[in-house]
Symmetry: C2
Subunit: 254 residues, 2 copies
């Protein structure tokens, strides 16, 4: 059996998430069915991250095993010709037998995108969290500092999170902002992006952190409050859960 | 009667274009029905540009007359609360009786967006023309030069174009390119954008010019060829019509 590693980009708006669910179409099943049609055999597709409903990916990674002799690169054009427009395989390569998309992963990068604008933007609909009030970027940066490193992130995990261990390490948080218009296609507003890198993330952890950092950016919480919330280890202490639409799985590290 | 001027942003993917058509939903009718519901009276909505099916707008301009006493600014939030997510009113102001969105217009800006990439990008699907082969930007700039100024653009008009006069003036053409990835959300590829400003454009004129300039960017046509095509004044001489998905109405000048 050969093992193939795929890099996958998708707009998650239409999907119930990466993982199969009884209530709708998953990204995983959509790609698995396209692979099955291409190679003519059953395929088990394992993804690095179980992105939630409405969450996007610039670079999800997944693997599958196959008897097919199709050269690895041939899976890019082959599967894309079957997949719907909102999913694209961007790279495919043959990997050693021991590779596992989830278990071999050393870390992940997520980006959360916020549009600060007086009116909504049809081109970012479903792909950003739109907020009307300006965010203080310096306050958000200051508030994020205490989250760096190894901590028990119980205050930022979803109530239904199945992980036994709630200790995770965040190695990088960056908050940036830039005006929405570029030189040609103007539109009113500002894009605020939050980048997170770490060895793993609990269910809804990034969205709960983003909701809490937005409270800091709006002056409702101080850096001391964030520290207190983290140490409380209770979900009820933190801010709201930011919507799925703004979250992008940006990279998986091996 | 008061006259209100609206600035409107829309993703044209789902629509038959700005103007009403028997075969589907138009942007104009969608906004008109929202206004009607808000003010409780029939409304006639006149747009500056009749964008085609699948063409987008960052800043379409339209006007309507109303007996309503709603303050002009109130139309932004009011109409947006009724409109679907892919259309947004971004500004509203009261204008003098003599203002006419189309007739008062002194010029327009359009931007055409091309993605040069080995694989398609789900986030630009329907919002760019995806090409696999690299474009020579210098060749496209050189080829565009002879189109500047006042010319008979018969070679670049659609066969069904209803304008009596095919003479138009293009005051500005700019071709730019930038890598697709920004610092956080990476993706493979290059964005090439073509900006056009002029006093008016014939039906499909920009898309036919873009198709022809892409032939220049791929080395299939020289600057001399473009000059020859322009002077021939026959549609059959020019390159293919670029798809609607890449075209954005970017501004209307008064």
């Amino acid at each position: 059996m050969r093992k193939i590693k795929l890099r996958i980009m998708y707009d998650g708006t239409r999907y119930v998430g990466w993982q199969e669910q009884p209530n709708g179409v998953s990204v995983q099943a959509t790609i698995r069915d396209a692979l099955k049609r291409m190679v003519g055999e059953e395929v088990a597709l394992v993804g690095a991250s179980r992105t939630d409903a409405g969450v996007h990916a610039v670079a999800q990674v997944a693997h599958f095993e196959t008897e097919s002799r199709v050269p690895a690169g041939g899976f890019v054009a082959g599967v894309n010709s079957i997949l719907p427009d909102d999913i694209a395989v961007t790279d495919a390569e043959e990997v050693p037998e021991g590779f596992h998309a989830r278990r071999s992963s050393k870390g992940k990068r997520y980006v959360y995108r916020i549009l600060v604008s007086r009116s909504r933007n049809p081109f970012l609909e479903g792909r950003a969290w739109t907020l009307r009030n300006a965010l203080n970027i310096d306050s958000m940066r200051a508030a994020s500092a205490c989250l760096l490193g190894e901590h028990d992130f119980s205050s930022f995990r979803a109530s239904g999170c199945g992980s036994r261990d709630s200790v995770r390490t965040i190695t990088r948080i960056e908050v940036s902002s830039r005006p929405l218009p570029h030189e040609m296609l103007s539109g009113e507003g500002e894009i605020v992006e939050l980048l997170f890198e770490g060895n793993g993330f609990l269910r809804h952890m990034i969205r709960n952190i983003v909701g809490t950092l937005v409270d800091a950016g709006h002056g409702r919480l101080s850096s001391d409050d964030i520290q207190r919330i983290l140490l409380a280890k209770k979900r009820i202490e933190a801010g709201r859960c930011a919507p799925a639409s703004g979250l992008f799985l940006a990279d998986v590290f091996y």
